[in-house]
Amino acid sequence: MKILVQGKIQGIILKSQHSINFLGTVDKKTGIISDKNHDLFDKSIKDSILVFPNGIGSSVGAYTIYSIKSNNAAPLAMICQKADLTVATGCALANIPLVVIDGEEFSSLQTGQKISLDTESSNPITFL
């Protein structure tokens, strides 16, 4: 596991199998995904622990993550399978905890599970 942005949080997982392009497909005020082809279409990422493979698209998407957080519509934390610089810098700007995990651990996380994420702990992800 790689810890990109530190933090400690509890919450409920919202998982996507699709990459997310934060610039243009996530509503900055509500956190709702507007891309009809996305598996989270019409769902809000607000206050979730958002689990998804990786971010895609313009690095300007990092500002979008910052805006979502400023509008109180951001996820509590993000968990990715691959590190990408847009999500990494976006979470760093917005101070949203971000970790990158391997494929096996990624598969074990499911929408609706309640977990605790603590980047200081030796076992950062625990199921509650």
Partner: protein, 384 residues
């Protein structure tokens, strides 16, 4: 990553919120790119200036942090959206202008030099060999690594800003010693700047962090810039070395087939409604050369020329500006063909240019068709 006591303290917020955010960015970037530590840099060049690209979110963010953030090292800036001297000629709306001026003010408040140029390597004195810098403009990062003996990764707007505020950058990839595992064999005879732009575009597609290029003769400045601009547009690659490289390197040819594929990808029109020169922006040398090529000739259609403000001022003093304006050129400082809001598909169907970088963004961002031609061909076909 190994952090010093001071870096740890900044990350905890003991040196204020801005420092804490800047270190969060450097550490997130460093962890994502497997850096083991942070190292000092001497110069940051920032992207994320044009309101056309960063939008309201960027404008609001910069306005917010500029209250407290100050840069720690020499920091220069990429082009913005227009030249204030002649913006009224281009029908840009008031909202764009006021948001762009707010962005300008935020950067100036932070202590950034308002250079508005994508060719810092041509308008500033270069630091000594091996100096670590942090360049977010892709063509400038490639130029710095390949021609200026500096060291930088292809930084993002945010990692470069964080480097400007902290004076540090993650020690990874091209900042270390680097030997490419791929050699591109240049097979095209009598190349011009357009050929080099396409070679760069090809290299960016096939290369990873860096590539060797063999079979290349000495290039003029226009061709060097075209090579860097093309490469920065198509991928993540940020350095080329001239020569065959290690014998074990994988070899790829850049021949007529590869070149025509790229030409077909980017050239979508037989002719343009207007001409643009400059992406990367033109330096004084190119302005001077263009002036002599245009002696006794004038353009049959509009020709927009993009350059840094310092170059525009020098050109005016020397007398190039008068000559170029007489030949029908519009000279614009502080902005560039790349991601310009001054060309829109409402007014223009297609643009003629010799820039591969310009062509890519005109097509994909402005939504206009592109007619690619070398500068000498443009002058032959489009002037009388």
């Amino acid at each position: 990553m190994e952090l010093t006591k001071e870096e740890e303290s900044a990350l905890k917020g003991e040196q204020g919120e801005i420092m804490q955010m800047a270190y969060r960015i450097l550490i997130a970037t460093g962890e994502a790119t497997d850096a083991e530590k942070l190292i000092p840099i001497e110069w940051a060049h920032l992207s994320g200036v044009n309101y056309n690209t960063i939008g309201d979110a960027g404008e609001e963010f910069l306005s917010g942090i500029s209250k407290n953030a100050r840069v720690k090292v020499k920091t220069t800036l990429n082009p913005m959206g227009f030249d204030i001297d002649n913006v009224s000629n281009y029908g840009l709306d008031d909202n764009f202008i006021s948001k762009q001026l707010s962005i300008r003010k935020s950067y100036e408040t932070m202590g950034v030099t308002p250079s508005f140029s994508c060719i810092p390597y041509e308008i500033f004195d270069m630091p000594k060999e091996g100096t670590q810098v942090s360049f977010a403009e892709s063509n400038a990062a490639i130029h710095a690594n390949s021609f200026d003996n500096l060291k930088t990764n292809k930084e993002s707007a945010f990692s470069a800003l964080a480097s400007a505020i902290t004076g540090k950058s993650p020690y990874s990839s091209l900042r270390k010693e680097d030997s490419p595992n791929l050699t591109i064999r240049m097979k095209i005879d009598n190349p011009n700047e357009l050929t080099y732009g396409m070679l760069g575009f090809f290299a960016g597609k096939v290369g990873n962090n860096s590539v060797n290029i063999s079979g290349v003769e000495e290039m003029d400045r226009r061709s060097c810039k075209a090579l860097c601009g093309g490469m920065g547009t198509s991928g993540t690659c940020a350095k080329f070395l001239f020569g065959d490289g290690d014998p074990g390197c994988e070899k790829v040819d850049f021949d007529k087939k590869e070149m025509s594929d790229i030409h077909d990808e980017l050239n979508t029109a037989e002719k343009g409604d207007l001409i643009t020169l400059g992406s990367p922006q033109l330096g004084l040398e190119e302005i001077s050369d263009l002036t002599s090529k245009l002696k006794g000739r004038s353009f049959k259609k509009r020709c927009m020329i993009f350059c840094p403000r310092t170059v525009k001022e020098q050109a005016r003093k020397i007398g190039y500006t008068n000559e170029l304006e007489r030949a029908g050129c519009e000279i614009l400082a502080d902005c560039c063909t790349c991601l310009t809001p001054l060309i829109s598909k409402e007014n223009v169907d297609s643009v003629t240019t010799n820039s591969i970088k310009g062509a890519y963004y005109l097509k994909n961002s402005n939504g206009v068709d592109v007619n690619l031609k070398s500068l000498s061909q443009i002058i032959e076909d489009e002037t009388r």
